[in-house]
């Protein structure tokens, strides 16, 4: 099993964590610079302590993440992180220009010497407000954009694209991906529709901020659809993301995590947006389960459901092993759970030194 470190570049200044969009009145440039430097330190540490990947993602208008363009962060990481793969999980495809996404990922793949993992996401629902895109169009935009991006990477002669949402008279991207035919592709597999699409198009899946029981059902569905499509996903075709914090002992780790405020998902930070997105049909056929993913829960429940991995090295290994056994996931995407300065760096070191070597044997 492989491990990735996902640091959202959380804003470290004083600001509410339950409002979206977050007002710029709370913003301090100094705090933001410090946040970025801390992020770089944590990614550097993960690379040094053997993490297989580092992960960046796209979020807007929030202190939860200072990477509205994850490609920029990934570009910096291509020069800081020397060994680990750089997983862009990912651009919020339906709200972006897909040719630009293809160009940027190809550029990153070149800058990193072929270390890019390309996750194509629909994003958190609030992001549709960011660039004023109708969330009802999300799946169709996503599907078309993904097909187009694959073409930009594999067509060697200029071509035009006459889509339903996108139109280009001629495309011929430079640079092109180092990895051939293109970097490994992932997408969210949380909904049945997504699992079917991923299986049909031979794409890996990832789960973020869900629960192990929900992900387990989704993985089974994905594997069944892949079987129908004539292929068998490998363990590495499934990524599971969970928040983590490791300390020398369980007590210390739990004490650290108990200082954190309850997590409120970005979409739930704005009820008008949450309701508007729900009415748009964004969640698809499995809407109730999709909304359960982000329900507010106590820490103990979140651990039990596999949303949070916390404890000393042995406890954390057991929690990871359970996730591995339940899901057959081959990549664990670990979100920095607590921004506690040196203790967070120590958490990354402990995971790399005391959990990861044993994780490899799973």
């Amino acid at each position: 099993m492989k491990a990735s470190l996902f640091c959202t570049a959380r804003y470290m200044g004083a600001a509410p964590h339950d409002i979206w969009p977050l007002s710029g009145e709370y913003y301090s440039g100094d705090a933001a610079v410090r946040s970025m430097q801390t992020t770089f330190d944590q990614f550097r540490c993960a690379d040094e302590f053997g993490f297989d990947w580092v992960t960046v993602a796209e979020h807007h208008y929030s202190g939860f993440s200072l990477t509205p363009n994850p490609m920029v962060m990934a570009g910096a990481l291509s020069q800081i992180v020397r060994r680990a793969k750089i997983a862009v999980l990912g651009p919020t495809l339906p709200i972006l220009n897909p040719v630009r996404v293809a160009e940027e990922l190809a550029m990153l793949d070149t800058m990193s010497g072929g270390r890019v993992v390309a996750g194509m996401m629909r994003g958190t629902p609030n992001e549709y407000v960011t660039y004023n895109i109708n969330p009802a169009e999300s799946r169709e935009r996503f599907a078309e954009a993904l097909h187009l991006i694959r073409r930009t990477w594999t067509e060697t002669r200029p071509f035009g694209w006459l889509g339903r949402y996108y139109q280009y008279r001629t495309i011929s991207i430079w640079p092109r991906p180092v990895q051939q035919p293109h970097p490994p592709l992932y997408m969210s597999g949380s909904s049945p529709e997504a699992g079917e699409f991923a299986a049909r198009n031979h794409i890996g899946i990832g789960f973020a901020f869900t629960t192990v029981p929900l992900a387990k059902n989704a993985v089974q569905h994905y594997r069944a659809c892949a079987h129908d499509a004539g292929w068998e996903p490998a363990a590495e075709d499934v990524i599971y993301r969970a928040m983590f914090h490791v300390a020398d002992t369980d007590d210390e780790a739990f004490a650290d995590m108990s200082t954190l405020p309850p997590r409120i998902s970005l979409v739930d930070q704005n009820q008008a947006i949450a309701e508007g997105v729900r009415q748009s049909g964004y969640y698809g056929a499995d809407a109730v389960a999709q909304r359960q993913r982000t329900s507010r829960r106590e820490l103990a429940d979140r651990i039990a459901l596999g949303q949070v991995i916390v404890g000393g090295p042995d406890t954390v290994l057991a929690q990871v092993q359970r996730i591995r056994d339940e899901l057959g996931a081959g990549v664990l995407d670990l979100v920095v759970g607590a921004q506690l300065g040196e203790r967070t760096l120590h958490s990354i070191e402990l995971f790399g030194a005391k959990v990861l070597p044993r994780l490899r044997e799973l």
Binding site: E144, H147, R151, F159, W161, L162, G163, R164, R169, T170
Partner: protein, 196 residues
């Protein structure tokens, strides 16, 4: 305008070659190989142009012979200058017609061409736009692209062999752009303003 606006007429030697006509203005000739004609795309084109649709004659034997018969029919109708669209397996007939030295053809659109292109098409000097489908694994469009070094090539997303029926608005839009502007169609002239 709908497909029902097209009138069926007869042309060619002995008036045995059926065709469909609608619209007014400069002429577009479409050669198709399907049974369902005219399509919605033809109707959309006929809103601004005179559109004449021929089915590829089933008894012509070869694409070259089909082109000869349609060329003769057009001559009898007095149609000397036109833009040309070849669809599906009729793409080759359209290319042979475009290759005829006496033809005064502005530009050529090949929609989901089917079947192998003839090596002779390599000499084509008229502007050609090849529209290739994405729904299936056919690479016929790609083979035309390889042969026609200077052609334009576009993928029509979510379309199978019958682009005119599956993506009529897209086909009519891009064909009209190419017929009117030829190579300049690369530059968009769409209004991007959200509000005036």
């Amino acid at each position: 305008m709908s497909e029902s606006a097209f009138a069926q007429r007869w042309a060619g030697d002995g008036g045995r070659l059926p065709y469909y006509e609608a619209g007014s203005g400069e002429t577009i000739v479409a050669i198709v190989d399907g049974e369902r004609l005219p399509t919605r795309a033809h109707a959309l084109l006929a809103e601004r142009r005179r559109v004449i649709v021929f089915a590829k004659p089933a008894d012509a034997g070869s694409a070259q012979e089909a082109a000869r018969r349609i060329g003769a029919a057009l001559a009898r109708l007095g149609i000397e200058r036109f833009d040309l669209m070849g669809e599906g397996a009729a793409a080759a007939a359209a290319m042979w017609l475009a290759a005829a030295p006496e033809a005064d053809i502005g530009s050529v659109v090949l929609a989901a061409p089917d079947g192998p292109p003839d090596e002779a098409f390599r000499e084509m000097r008229r502007p050609v736009l090849v529209l290739s489908r994405t729904k299936d694994q056919s690479d016929a469009g790609g083979r035309y692209r390889m042969l026609l070094a200077d052609c334009h090539f576009m993928l029509v997303y979510d379309a199978g062999p019958d682009i005119g029926a599956e993506r009529p608005e897209a086909l009519a839009f891009i064909a009209r752009e190419f017929f009117e502007r030829r190579d300049l169609f690369l530059v968009s002239r769409e209004n991007g303003r959200t509000f005036p």
